[in-house]
């Protein structure tokens, strides 16, 4: 079984979001970059599926040359191969991204999709467009299930579960299929030091992406960090000596006691 996981390089943020002066990007100079938790789970799922069913796992991203860092994270987790669709680092919208990824996928299989399972995050961490997986499926003519938190493969059929209020919807889908996942589907492994070293030297083929995005546009003008209430907390005290004051606020202000 051949499994693909598509991941996106996004800035790490921490305790507050700092923007670049032109308000076009998050200033990542302090904290660096990462991938979404959903996508970390997509990579883990790809690896587990090939461990259980044989075959190979592949990670792919569309991003700047530095996005090889996130691909190497995937390789260090034990994915077999990686592909970079290299851009100049500007944001591509979800439709252009999907078009480029669909082409990249077909390129891997000499014009046809070579993957049995194509995993995506349910939504990207930064822009949350909820579209790339669905649009890739549409372009490749594949079925698509989204928001999946449990997955079994039996005889070429995926049995996929999605949480809904009060329970779980179960889908049965014939492969090949696009499956978008949510954090919680598995526990992503930590890469060992040795695996990280090996991944550092692994060759990553780079392709030039091509993707048009049809009529109509959604264009970013600028970003804005919303106002947060940064009035200092009232310090009730240090250590256990604060307990009477805690009781007081729980009783008279919050009224839970």
């Amino acid at each position: 079984m051949h499994v693909l996981a598509c991941i996106k390089r996004v800035p790490n943020t921490g305790a507050s979001i700092v923007l670049t002066d032109d308000e076009q990007h998050i200033d990542a100079s302090n904290l660096g970059f990462t991938m979404s938790p959903h996508e970390e789970c997509a990579v883990e799922e790809a690896i587990q599926l090939t461990e259980d069913h044989g075959g190979s796992s592949h990670v792919l991203t569309l991003g700047p040359s530095e996005a090889d860092e996130q691909l190497r994270t995937g390789l260090a987790m034990q994915a077999d191969e990686a592909t970079l669709l290299e851009t100049d680092g500007e944001e591509w919208g979800p439709r252009a991204t999907a078009a480029a990824i669909a082409r990249g996928i077909e390129h891997q299989g000499d014009g046809e999709n070579p993957f049995d399972v194509l995993l995506f995050g349910n939504e990207s961490a930064d822009t949350a467009n909820y579209q790339v997986g669905v649009h890739v499926a549409k372009r490749l003519g594949l079925p698509c299930v989204t928001g999946i938190k449990s997955l079994e493969i039996e005889d070429g059929t995926a049995i996929a579960g999605r949480e809904v209020s009060g329970g779980e919807e179960i889908y049965r889908v014939d492969l090949p299929a696009v499956i978008t996942v949510k954090e919680g589907i598995n526990e992503p492994r930590y890469a060992s030091m040795r695996a990280k070293m090996r991944a550092r030297n692994q060759e990553i083929p780079t392709l030039e992406p091509a993707g048009e995005s049809g009529p109509g546009t959604l264009e970013k003008i600028r970003l804005e960090a919303p106002q947060t209430d940064d009035s200092e907390a009232e310090i009730l005290g240090e250590g256990p000596e604060a307990v009477p004051d805690v009781i007081e606020v729980l009783e008279s202000e919050v009224e839970v006691l």
């Binding site: 943020t13 921490g14 305790a15 507050s16 979001i17 998050i26 938790p37 959903h38 919208g93 961490a125 930064d126 949350a128 467009n129 909820y130 579209q131 669905v134 649009h135 549409k138 079925p143 698509c144 299930v145 989204t146 928001g147 579960g161 809904v164 009060g166 329970g167 779980e168 179960i170 889908y171 014939d174 949510k182 954090e183 919680g184 009529p215 109509g216 959604l218 264009e219 970013k220 970003l223 804005e224 960090a225 919303p226 200092e232 907390a233 310090i235 009730l236 005290g237 240090e238 250590g239 256990p240 604060a242 307990v243 805690v246 009781i247 606020v249 202000e253 919050v254 839970v256 006691l257």
Partner: protein
Amino acid sequence: MTLALVEHENGFPDELSLEMLTMARDLAAQEGEDLEAVVIAGEEPVTEELGAHGVETIHRVTHERLDAYAPEAWGESLAQVARETNAGTIVGPGSDRSHEVLAHAGAVLDAPMATNCVDLEVDPGGSYELTRQRWGGSLLEHAHLEGDVKLVTAAEHEYSIEAAAEPADPTTETMTPSLEDAHFRVQVDRVETGTGEGIPLGEARVVVGGGRGVGGPENFDQLEELADLLGGTVGSSRAAVNEGWRPHDDQIGQTGAKISPDIYVACGISGAVQHMVGCKGSERTLAINTDPEAAIIQKADWAVVGDLHEVVPALNEAIRERQ
């Protein structure tokens, strides 16, 4: 014309759909057009309820194979209604299902889509200046949306539920979309109901959260006890889940649960933005943290600077003594 996808239960629009109708009605008013609704499958929609929220026409989509939810068939149906009615805009609520259905419709119509909007202004030329959430709401994007057909969704809990100043008296038009087998490749096979144990995080009036500072799975016992004493439930940060101390179901934040308790007691949690977006709905926050510089202390209403392993047991004991 503005077309709103309404999700409903027994004919009544659900909470997020009602929020979305506030946004959609304003948008239709700015465009000087009618607001029409699409209701796919299920029971007959309650017309008065939709009329009260300003819906002039209801498009009820029925089809013999649409009993169980099928995302591609829903998206295709929505696209067909949009084409037939010449809709310029399709609006959906901020739910997972709506995002999925609109994404399918957008792929069919090859149209741009802006998710999780919090503000929309119509330009004279008919394009939109909009504000939408990024990073689960920790960041805003100002953007320009343009196209013959545009898709937008309303961010969760950003619009209040408001009835229209003047209720409408909607007419219902039933339509049967033309669907093929391929549209039903993905369809709900069955629904398994949950065990429903304990208070769900999203509904708890008191949430006691534990982060990396808790130090291990066994130390969550103290937090469980505090939650019990206060009639609440325990949640956690992603760090505690990644350590394997708590199940992912307990996670609060961008990729976890959204909570809205009367009080959130955050123990050994630093206050990262992705955690805090899950707690935006909390009325009050009490932080217990050894580090007086921790971001959570800035973001909380009250704080105790100290070791949670000393503070929480002492607090539990003091509460028990009072009872």
